[in-house]
Structure formats: C-alpha cells, structure tokens
Amino acid sequence: MFKITPCGVEGCDRPAFSLESLCYHHLEEDPERIQKSLQELQAQNIILNRVFDDASFIGLDFSRYRFVGCSFRNAKIQHSMFTGASFHLCFLDRSSFISCDFSGADVDFCSFGSSSFMDCSFENSELIQTSFNGSIFVDCTFSGSNLYNSRFLLCDLNTVNFENCDFKRAFYIPSKEIDVTFSGSNIAEAVRDLEHLYL
C-alpha cells in the first residue's frame, strides 16, 4: 500500500509526490523535475504503492498500465487515457476527470468517492467492488460494464449511459438523475431504495 510521506517544505501538510521529496504543488515550481518524474513513471508498466495526490495531469497515456495500492486523491486529470488499464486497491477520491478514457479498464476494490467525471468513458470495463459514492457524472458512459458489488450512492448523474451493464449486488441510489439510460441492463438487481439496503 501507499505510504504518506509529508512534503519536504516546512509547514506544508501535503503528501510528497511519487518518489519525490516534495508535494506536487511545490514541484510545480520546477516543471523539468515533474517531467522527469512522469517519464520515470511511464517507463514502467506496473505502478505500485505511489502517491499522486493533488497532481494535475493533462494528455497522459496510461493505457494498459497496472496501478496497485496507489493514491490519486484531489488530482486533476484531463484528456488522459487509461484504456485497458487496471486499478487494484487504489484511492481516487475527490479528484476531477475531464475527457478521460477508462474503456476496457479492470478496476477492483477501489474508491472514486466524491470525484467528478465529465465526458469520460468506462465502456466495457470491469468495475468490481468499487465506490463512486458522492461523485458527479456529466456526459459519461458505462456501456457494457460489469458493476458487481459497486456503489453509486448520492451521485449526481447528468446524461449517463448504463446500457448493457451488470448491476448484480450494486447499490444505485443517486441524489440527482437527468437523462440516465439503462436499456439492456439488469438494473432491477441493484439495490435502488433504502428499504432494501440491508437485505
């Protein structure tokens, strides 16, 4: 699992970024160092136990990478590819994803809680035992995904496609829903109201 090492700058309580001694915020003062750090990351296929909290990524390609025990909390990720990537025991809470592709991803036992997703695709993904509680989705698709034992509690969903999804043991009680489609999905198998929460 990831280990939180405090940023080396006195008085800063943010965690250090990846293998660096400083947090992403302080590393931003040295763009070359960030670039090097990202290159080091992209040079490997399996990324283990790293912390990317507060990072801001634009246009990165992590397709088919394997992330295990990583933290991406409060990250801002835009126009990035995670196509066919796998995530296990990763925490991506309170992050923002804009135009990111997670299609064909294999996500198991992760948390995307209180995050926001705009124009993102999770098409044909395995999203097992994963929490999206409290997240905001705008123009997103989960088409053809397996959502076994995942949770969508108190989400705000606007134009979201859940067509042909497997909702077995999933919890689906959003706080707001506009233009959400389920055709071909077994949404009746999901827990959809408080009466059935503990059954």
Binding site: G69, L89, R94, S111, S114, Q129, S135, N149, R151, L197
Partner: protein, 202 residues
C-alpha cells in the same frame, strides 16, 4: 506494507491480510474463511502470521478462525474473551498495541453489535468491520440505535484525518472525507426510512 483483500462468498464479506515485508510478519482481519489463495499469499511471502484482528463476532467475519488456528498460532485480538472456543486477547476502546510491527489503535463503536470494535493501523488504515461501509453505516436493531451509531461514528471516526483509508467488512473501500460527504445514513430521516429492515436477529 502489503494489503490483500479477500472477498468471501460466505456472507459476501471482506477479509484482509496485512503483510509487513520488512519484518516478515502478517496480520489477518476478519477471516470469514481461510482459502488456499489466502494461505498462498501468506506462504509465498514467508510471512509469520502473528495476529488476527476481529471487528465483531458475526459468523461471516470469524468462521475462518477454526482453520487458521489449525495451521498457525496467532494471537486473536477481539473485544470478546473467547470466539469459537479460542481464547482471545481482549481489547477495549482506546487500547493501543503493537503487532506484526504496526501500531494498532482499537476504537469501540458498538451499535451494529455490542462487541463492534474498529482498528486503526499505522495511523492511516481503518478496518471498520460492519460499523461503517462505503456510503452506509452498520445495520442495527432499531431507529434509535441507528441514530446512536451514526452519532458515535461522527464523534469517533469522522474526527480522524480526512485521508484515513477505510477497509470495511463488506463492499468497496472508502475514505473518511468521502464518508463525511456522501454517506446515505446521514440523510435526514434515514433511520425511519429503513424501519422495515429492523429485526432482533441481525
């Protein structure tokens, strides 16, 4: 630190193996069962299984004890004196102990069951059993108890740092900050809404 999550079909519960690679020691949390895969994880890293942390005494969180105790000799930590006939080292609210090289804080949060206790490991990883799941608090026997449990969680767990990671007894993981923002049990009238689910045999 290595953490393995094992999903058991028995009660659809989560068990965890926590390995300290530096010391070659391990802990297990809530063994619903002991499968060949779990044994393999312990054996392939040559871990010495030192302790078992039990969050509460419901069968689908402790059933694996019988098999584990046939193979290994760990200390069982629980708020009970005995479980399935095995002697436990009793822990109570506020206890701090070390096992497998990690500092462990025990925090009693009764409500789902009288013996419910959660464990904060290394100050960052919180094993909550059935007290707190992603987006939901544990089932209780009445609306009064649900409200009392919700208040207890707010006082004892939501006061932990926001980045504390939650490993629950069922369902996906979470973090304290997400639970503060998106836990359906804190919606007005939640306890009354689920009234039809209360029974005395939880």
């Amino acid at each position: 630190m290595k953490i393995y999550q094992h999903y058991s079909i028995f009660g659809f519960s989560n068990s965890y193996i926590i390995g300290n690679e530096d010391l070659g020691k391990a802990l297990v949390v809530d063994p619903a069962e002991l499968t060949p895969t779990m044994i393999e994880k312990i054996e392939q890293h040559h871990f010495d299984l030192r302790g078992i942390l039990i969050t509460h005494n419901h069968t689908h969180h402790i059933n694996g004890l019988s098999t584990i105790m046939k193979i290994y000799s760990p200390t069982i930590y629980a708020s009970n004196a005995k479980l399935l006939g095995f002697q436990c080292r009793k822990v109570k609210d506020g206890d701090i102990f070390r096992e497998a090289g990690y500092e462990i804080n025990a925090i009693a949060v009764p409500g789902h069951s009288q013996d419910s206790i959660v464990y904060l490991l290394a100050g960052l990883f919180l094993f909550t059993g059935d007290v707190l799941h992603a987006g939901l608090i544990g089932k209780t026997s009445s609306a009064f108890n649900t409200n009392a449990l919700a208040a207890r969680i707010q006082q004892k767990l939501f006061s932990l740092p926001d980045n504390t990671v939650i490993f629950p007894g069922h369902g996906p993981p979470s973090t304290i900050v997400t639970e503060k923002n998106a836990n359906i049990s804190y919606q007005e009238g939640f306890a009354e809404h689920i009234r039809s689910n209360y029974d005395f045999f939880v």
